[in-house]
């Protein structure tokens, strides 16, 4: 009955309209044509169609967002209008989602009309190509990265992202509330959506609807931001440790030294995994803080379990030095 992360979901496509709404601020996008907002984008990569304009279309990745930078625009400008129309027209033998012109370049009305007639939206941005590609790539990467939804509570404890999981009613929300009260920050309760960023980084956030509301059994719904203030919440955080709360059972195995570090795969990323037995009178909040601090210590190169093991091996090796007190007291020192 061990914890299993939710099913992986991936977006199949986003519409051009969605991209425009999301990026018009950051990219200062300006619409050149007003068609094709319903076109689908289904690839996180971008394409610069220089070779396709030159006539080589064998490997043309037409389904990607097409970026026209200075190279493409100057190449078109270098030709007389007729040739220019012919060259530009080559692209429209394929179904391209949209065109983004960078660096404040302008496109001839004739060319804009071709795009319009083929229902391909054209946008302009004043940003230079590398910057525009950076923003576009980042946005598309995020949109098309694998996601999963996990039943748990996600809290930033001393800057370490602790994801609490365990069966319903075991007390995840109560521990979360206790942590918030001690000055830690809530990211999400109950439904945590996890996104894999790049290779091997997991980001967790709440859903738009639930954002910083939580249910406490016997109390009902509370709004953490209103009660504890702005410092008690944050919108997203990297997931660093999964803390699994379990009822204590005599036959269940829990680590005793911490040398055997276990991990659990979430969206194929191996994430440190702590199984925590709970029983009445045990202060899980303090233990959660210690988990976070111990993670930080390890991150800074100090592993307490390993240090202790090394010390012990040294003492076993030098037989005579055994069982010394930690300190030899001074005579007549009774403190």
């Amino acid at each position: 009955m061990s914890f299993k992360p939710g099913k992986e979901i991936r977006k199949e496509y986003i519409t051009v309209g969605f991209l425009y709404e999301a990026l018009k601020g950051r990219l200062k996008l300006e619409t050149v044509t007003n068609v094709g907002f319903e076109n689908h984008i289904n690839d996180k990569n971008l394409h610069r169609p220089g070779l396709a304009l030159a006539g080589y279309v064998a490997l043309f990745t037409y389904h990607r967002v097409q970026v026209f930078g200075n190279t493409e625009m100057r190449y078109l400008q270098s030709m007389p209008l007729e040739k220019r129309i012919e060259s530009f027209g080559t692209l429209f033998k394929f179904q391209i989602p949209c065109i983004i012109i960078t660096d404040n370049n302008t496109m001839d009305v004739e060319l804009v009309k071709i795009a319009s007639d083929h229902n391909v939206p054209v946008f302009r941005t004043p940003l230079e190509t590398t910057k525009a590609i950076y923003f576009l790539g980042d946005f598309l990467d995020d949109q098309f990265s694998p996601q999963a939804s996990i039943h748990g509570s996600f809290v930033d404890v001393y800057g370490v992202g602790l994801l609490f999981v365990g069966r319903s009613g075991i007390g995840k929300s109560e521990i979360t509330l206790d942590l918030i009260e001690r000055g830690h920050r809530l990211v999400a309760d109950d439904v945590v959506s996890i996104t894999r960023k790049g290779e091997g980084i997991l980001m967790g956030a709440g859903t738009d609807l639930v954002k910083h509301f939580m249910e406490i059994r016997g109390l009902g719904i509370i709004d953490v931001r209103s009660i504890f203030g702005i410092r008690s919440i944050r919108f997203q955080k990297r997931v660093e440790v999964v803390v699994e709360l379990m009822e204590w059972k005599a036959d269940a195995e829990f680590t005793r030294t911490g040398l055997d570090e276990s991990t659990i795969p979430i969206l194929e990323v191996e994430t440190p995994h702590v199984k925590l037995p709970i029983f009445p009178g045990k202060n899980i909040t303090v233990i959660a803080e210690v988990i976070a601090l111990n993670y930080l210590l390890k991150h800074y190169g100090y592993d307490a379990a390993q240090e202790f093991a090394k010390k012990l091996e040294k003492v076993i090796a030098q037989k005579s030095q055994k069982n010394k007190r930690a300190i030899d007291y001074f005579e007549h020192d009774f403190e």
Partner: protein, 88 residues
């Protein structure tokens, strides 16, 4: 109550890994489990206690088991010592 004397067989002694194996095994039984060595008495279910013994190869320990399942508990735990904690 059952008392048994055991000797540490493996070369590295009762270091961290065997200590963890020992307390995990001991935790499976209801019986209380104590270890005596060099005038020290420690609880055999406490990892720090067991490691404090720093028992090297060839040292002898007195084990004490008290409780309902002391028979099976002593048998299994003595077995672990005799196998040298499954180490060389």
């Amino acid at each position: 109550m059952i008392e048994k004397t055991v000797t540490i067989k493996n070369r590295a002694g009762l270091h961290t890994r065997p200590a963890a194996a020992l307390v995990k095994l001991a935790a499976k039984f209801q019986s209380e489990f104590f270890i005596f060595k060099d005038g020290m008495e420690i609880n055999g279910k406490s990892i720090i206690g067991v490691m404090t013994l720093a028992a090297e190869q060839g040292s002898t320990l007195l084990l004490k088991f008290v409780g309902e399942d002391e028979e099976i508990s002593s048998k299994e735990i003595v077995g672990l010592f005799e196998r040298g904690f499954d180490e060389a």
